[in-house]
């Protein structure tokens, strides 16, 4: 099986400090920093995600409109009707 804890990677010269989970609030900053961060992440991705779906919707709308027109009688054939 894959590498287990104790044999993962050789890391030297790095010191990590951390607080015990019992000494801190679990959701500290979730709204104050979390919500602005949500908007930051959205802005970073929206221009890559949204355009294909916007174009896709426009294609759908155009093709469905064209199909509806094809299912109708041609209005110009009845222009001279009394």
């Amino acid at each position: 099986m894959g590498k287990g804890f104790g044999e993962l990677a050789h890391v030297r010269g790095i010191i990590k400090y951390s607080l015990s989970p019992f000494e801190q609030r679990a959701f500290a900053g979730a709204i104050k920093y979390g919500v602005p961060n949500l908007f930051r992440r959205f802005r970073g991705q929206v221009l890559r995600v949204a355009p294909p779906f916007i174009i896709g919707y426009m294609v759908y709308q155009t093709v469905e409109g064209r199909h509806t027109q094809l299912m109708r009688k041609n209005p110009t054939d009845f222009e001279n009707d009394e």
């Binding site: 099986m1 894959g2 590498k3 287990g4 804890f5 993962l8 990677a9 890391v11 890559r48 995600v49 355009p51 294909p52 779906f53 174009i55 896709g56 294609v59 759908y60 093709v63 064209r66 199909h67 094809l70």
Partner: protein, 378 residues
């Protein structure tokens, strides 16, 4: 100190290595939840399916009414039936999200896990197709007729092969009984393949959103991802229950409430939503064998991804142009799904053909763009 039982016991140490002491990347996102969600979907389908099988009869004269009997008379039969039908939809939602994650983040570079994954996808698609025939409604019968007839396109052996599959000269009782047999069998093969899939993943450890080696920042699976996975289960179960209890037939076809009639062809034969994109690709090619090849290739093309990946970085995280192309692929699949549900008329035919070309083009243009982007930044 003696070794804890979870590490020493011959059975428990396997479970320990899979869901407790397994080193997992600290940065894997919600998109990594879909693996465990698929396991949950499989369990739901097997359990509900087992209970449905206790009351279902696989015979052309009894199948349709046995399903009605389940829904009306069997205790909580209505719930078993609707959970099983909607559970299949959720299975495919999770499958497509899981595969999409694999495509975006370059997880396909784990060749063994990826190949087994494609096999599982094909097995689940086969299982769903077989299962949809069992209620023996109009769409069950005619969907089975359309798809099994495709095999006749195979040169030389086609006609005999189809008659062998049917057990006769058309979809009939012999077909229904064997479809039930295989629909029952396949999920257990899927379960075995899933275990092999997980085995391969555990050889290397999971990929992560950055696509870089994560050995320097691993956390134990328990408690972080046990609880994260449980959260995912709650979210998915909530969605499944909402759909099942509030609008159970939203994703279904009204024609399947009509008993199968070989003498009456429905105006619009179409599969369930999760097959519509492939159905659109099938219908885009004017040649029968060509359409069948395109249908099969639309899934098998996933297998070439590991061999066409020539980028410096594993994931698309650092390739904005390719991200745009990925989301274009998703949009194309959505549009193909729409086209698959539309009749074969203008302008849907040409639209479907263009979208089919665009779908397959992704797998060529994407690696070329990756190489060009790397060169440009050098």
């Amino acid at each position: 100190m003696t070794m804890p039982i979870r590490k020493s016991h011959p059975l428990f140490k396997i479970l320990n290595g899979a869901v407790v002491d397994l080193p997992a990347p600290a940065n894997i996102s919600t998109l990594w939840n879909f693996g465990s969600l698929l396991g949950l979907c499989l369990v739901i389908q097997i359990v509900t399916g087992l209970f449905l099988a206790m009351h279902y009869t696989a015979h052309v004269d009894l199948a349709f009414s046995s399903v009605a009997h389940i829904c009306r008379d069997v205790n909580y039969g209505w719930l078993l039936r609707t959970l099983h039908a909607n559970g299949a939809s959720f299975f495919f939602i999770c499958l497509y999200m899981h595969t999409g994650r694999g495509i975006y983040y370059g997880s396909f570079l784990y060749l063994h896990a990826w190949s087994v994954g494609v096999v599982i996808l094909l097995l689940v698609m086969a299982t769903a197709f077989l299962g949809y025939v069992l209620p023996w409604g109009q769409m069950s019968f005619w969907g089975a007729t359309v798809i099994t007839n495709l095999f006749s396109a195979i040169p030389y052996i086609g006609t005999e092969l189809v008659q062998w599959i049917w057990g006769g000269f058309a979809v009939d009782n012999a077909t229904l009984t064997r479809f039930f047999t295989f629909h029952f069998l396949f999920p257990f093969i899927v379960a075995a393949a899933t275990i092999i899939h997980i085995l391969f993943i555990h050889q290397t450890g999971s990929n992560n959103p950055l696509g870089i080696v994560s050995n320097v920042d691993k956390v134990p699976f328990h408690p972080y991802f046990t609880f994260k996975d449980i959260t995912g289960f709650i979210v998915m179960l909530a969605a499944l229950i909402l759909l099942t209890l509030l609008n159970p037939y939203l994703l279904g076809d009204p024609d399947n409430f009509i008993p199968a009639n070989p003498l009456v062809t429905p105006a619009h034969i179409q599969p369930e939503w999760y097959f519509l994109f492939a159905y659109a690709i099938l219908r885009s090619i004017p040649n029968k064998l060509g359409g069948v090849i395109a249908l099969v290739m639309s899934i098998l093309i996933l297998l070439i991804l590991p061999f066409t990946h020539a980028a410096k970085f594993r994931s698309l995280t650092f390739y904005p142009l390719n991200q745009l192309m990925f989301w274009s692929l998703v949009s194309i699949v959505f549009l193909l799904t729409w086209i698959g549900a539309r009749p074969v008329e203008d302008p849907y035919v040409l639209t479907g053909q263009i979208l089919t070309v665009m779908y397959f083009s992704y797998y060529i243009i994407n690696p070329l763009t990756l190489i060009w982007w790397d060169k440009m930044l050098d």
